[in-house]
């Protein structure tokens, strides 16, 4: 059984996806339990695979029994094991959360929704698990296509936003494919491990340089790194609630994973330092991304759109951690992939629950929301504090490592950007917390109990299927913080190249 975990991780959701429309044809209500059941399998298998990696190191799995450079190999190491667990867990929670949102926004289309959800998860897991460059492209397209379909079903501007996303996303994926082509042309291989062995002799070939450039640009587009982020705010804002909850936290993070793979597994780290100054360029792009993301987020009043701009800044964090090219920086980047996925997921869950309850997404709609939805807002406070980097929530620890990385690299501008960005986040979130928890400014403060009777606000909490994932995510955010030392010792430190 254990030997088959890698195959199981992909095949289970894939078969599940193929069967979902058939099940949904007759029994539409069965789609959700079916999807949940299917999603539990990769979570279990990914957990098992991660444990096996921790116990006995990375392992491969040759599909169809063909040896690696000729056949396709699945390769699970510490980084991919961690990502698999992350994707599977968020996928499962997102599927649990989806029920009320789907029955409200996408009524009658449950089979399609759950099929696409499973395909999305399959695609993301496939990207992470495979050890073959072209296979990554195929899975990237599976996840992108299911994402296009899901997002286009959103509110008013969604089809237009999706079309832009398709165009830009295709440019990104095609650039990635071009990168694969150049590497193939120069080496004749598609397997990452095989390429990593061949490439060091060819670092000064122009083909490799061009290939690398296309790789990074393509992945940066998928990731929403600053000048290439244009598709992101519209697409994720207009997407239906359950959809943005699923896609927004994962897609950018998986793209960041591909970037780390390319820069640190496929190429040696010195390639990005000495051969081409990619690290420096990426670092400054990250600075701009963090600043612009923060400023744009400050300018938004729609909280969902605000969160998408925060995501742009957070992508900047990850890229910055990668770009400083040292152990704490990369540790922070990988830790931040996990933490940020949880935090963004939590935010979208909460936004989904609030919208489901019929409240608007503008900041002024948050007035008195703590009395209507106390648990949701408590979770919101936890996520917000984590985003501001307040310990012991997990956001603090990834920020710590990122800052350590910039300090070790002596990039003081980067450190200060990171710190300022936490302050910007504090402004962003405290203005909402203020709105939700405190009486309106100048609106006749009800200082004392006496005038309590004038307005009775009824508690109107989100349904359990939404609330449970929200509370679980909030708990995870707090627990991940103190556990980060253990996670790093067990997993992340092995994912950082030994050269650092």
């Amino acid at each position: 059984m254990i030997d088959q975990f890698p195959a199981l991780i992909i095949v289970a959701p894939l078969l599940g996806a193929f069967l979902t429309p058939i099940i949904g044809w007759r029994y539409r209500q069965l789609c959700r339990p079916w999807a949940l059941m299917i999603l539990a399998i990769p979570l279990y298998a990914a957990g098992g695979a991660l444990l096996q990696v921790i116990r006995s190191g990375p392992f491969g799995y040759n599909l169809g029994g063909w040896a690696p450079p000729w056949g396709i190999e699945y390769r699970i190491d510490h980084l991919s094991g961690l990502m698999l667990v992350l994707i599977a867990a968020i996928g499962l929670l997102a599927a649990i959360n989806a029920k009320p949102g789907v029955s409200m926004d996408l009524k009658g289309k449950e089979p399609h929704f759950y099929t696409l959800l499973l395909l999305q998860i399959t695609g993301l897991m496939g990207i992470v698990i495979t050890g073959d460059l072209f296979n990554i492209f195929v899975f990237l397209e599976i996840s992108s296509l299911s994402g296009y379909g899901l997002i286009a079903h959103g509110e008013d501007g969604a089809p237009m936003a999706t079309f832009n996303y398709i165009i830009i996303g295709t440019i990104g994926a095609s650039f990635y494919l071009l990168g694969v082509g150049y590497l193939y042309m120069a080496t004749g291989s598609l397997n990452i491990a095989d390429l990593a062995a061949i490439l060091p002799n060819l670092y000064h070939s122009k083909m490799i340089l061009v290939g690398f450039a296309f790789f990074t640009t393509g992945v940066a587009i998928k990731m929403g790194l600053f000048p290439l982020h244009v598709w992101m705010p519209d697409a994720y804002t207009t997407a239906p609630g359950p959809v943005s909850t699923l896609i927004a936290p994962l897609m950018t993070k998986v793209a960041a994973y591909i970037m780390i793979r390319i820069m640190f597994t496929l190429f040696q780290p010195d390639f990005s330092i000495s051969v081409v100054p990619v690290a420096t360029i990426l670092g400054w792009m990250a600075v701009v991304a963090i600043i612009v993301g923060g400023i744009k987020a400050l300018a938004q009043t729609d909280i969902k759109r605000m969160v998408t701009y925060i995501m742009i800044a957070e992508v900047g964090y990850i890229v910055m951690g990668v770009s400083v090219m040292n152990r704490p920086g990369l540790t922070g980047a990988i830790l931040h992939i996990v933490n940020d996925a949880c935090m963004i997921f939590g935010l979208f869950l909460i936004i989904g629950a609030i919208s489901y309850k019929g409240h608007g997404r503008e900041i002024y709609h948050f007035q008195n929301l703590n009395k209507k939805m106390p648990f949701t807002m408590a979770a919101f406070v936890i996520v917000a504090l984590s985003m501001c980097g307040i310990p012991p929530a997990c956001g603090f620890f990834s920020k710590w490592y990122l800052i350590m990385g910039t300090i070790v690299a002596k990039q003081w501008v980067f450190s200060i950007t990171l710190l300022c960005s936490s302050l910007v986040n504090a402004v962003l979130f405290f203005r909402i917390i203020e709105k939700a928890y405190l009486a309106p400014l100048g609106g006749g403060a009800h200082g004392h109990d006496d005038d309590h009777e004038e307005e009775v606000i009824v508690r109107d909490e989100a349904p359990a299927s939404m609330l449970i994932p929200i509370l679980i995510t909030a708990a995870i955010i707090i627990i991940l913080g103190p556990l980060s030392g253990k996670i790093i010792a067990a997993v992340i430190q092995h994912a950082v190249p030994a050269a650092f």
């Binding site: 492209f137 397209e141 379909g149 089809p159 237009m160 295709t170 193939y184």
Partner: protein
């Protein structure tokens, strides 16, 4: 110069195609033109990959005739057959490109249903000011 270009002429064609496609995707304001640009763009990549697999000197399509079930293997020479791998990859890429086009067309249908136009500027104008919406007629 000319010889230099001619020596790898299909790579030059691929570059030109790709630039055309990229320009159409980014610079054109009509959504269908953008989509056509996307197809040109993807086609150029296919051309690129297939060009990698070419072998001059009499190589032919990689179908081995008359060697049933592992006999007479000594007759197979690598130089006689084109590189099969880029073709395999491109079969997949073509399918991906078709699938993407399909989904893009579906969103175009949605867009057209909603705005009755496929000009990006008009759509932006309608979204900014819904009263400028033209009824289908």
């Amino acid at each position: 110069m000319l010889e230099y270009i001619l020596a790898k002429y299909n790579f030059w064609i691929y570059v030109v195609l790709m630039m055309i496609g990229l320009y159409a995707m980014m610079g054109k304001r009509n959504l269908v033109k953008k989509l056509i640009g996307m197809n040109i763009f993807q086609t150029s990549i296919i051309l690129f990959f297939v060009s990698i697999g070419v072998k001059k000197g009499g190589a032919t399509v990689p179908i081995i005739m008359g060697h049933g079930h592992g006999h007479g293997q000594h007759l197979i020479k690598v130089a006689d057959y084109l590189n099969p791998l880029p073709h395999v990859l491109m079969l997949t890429a073509i399918v991906v490109s078709i699938a993407t086009t399909g989904v893009a067309l579906a969103t175009l249908i949605l867009i057209y249903k909603r705005y009755h136009t496929l000009e990006e500027d008009e759509i932006l104008a309608i979204r900014k000011d819904p009263s400028s919406y033209k009824t289908l007629g």
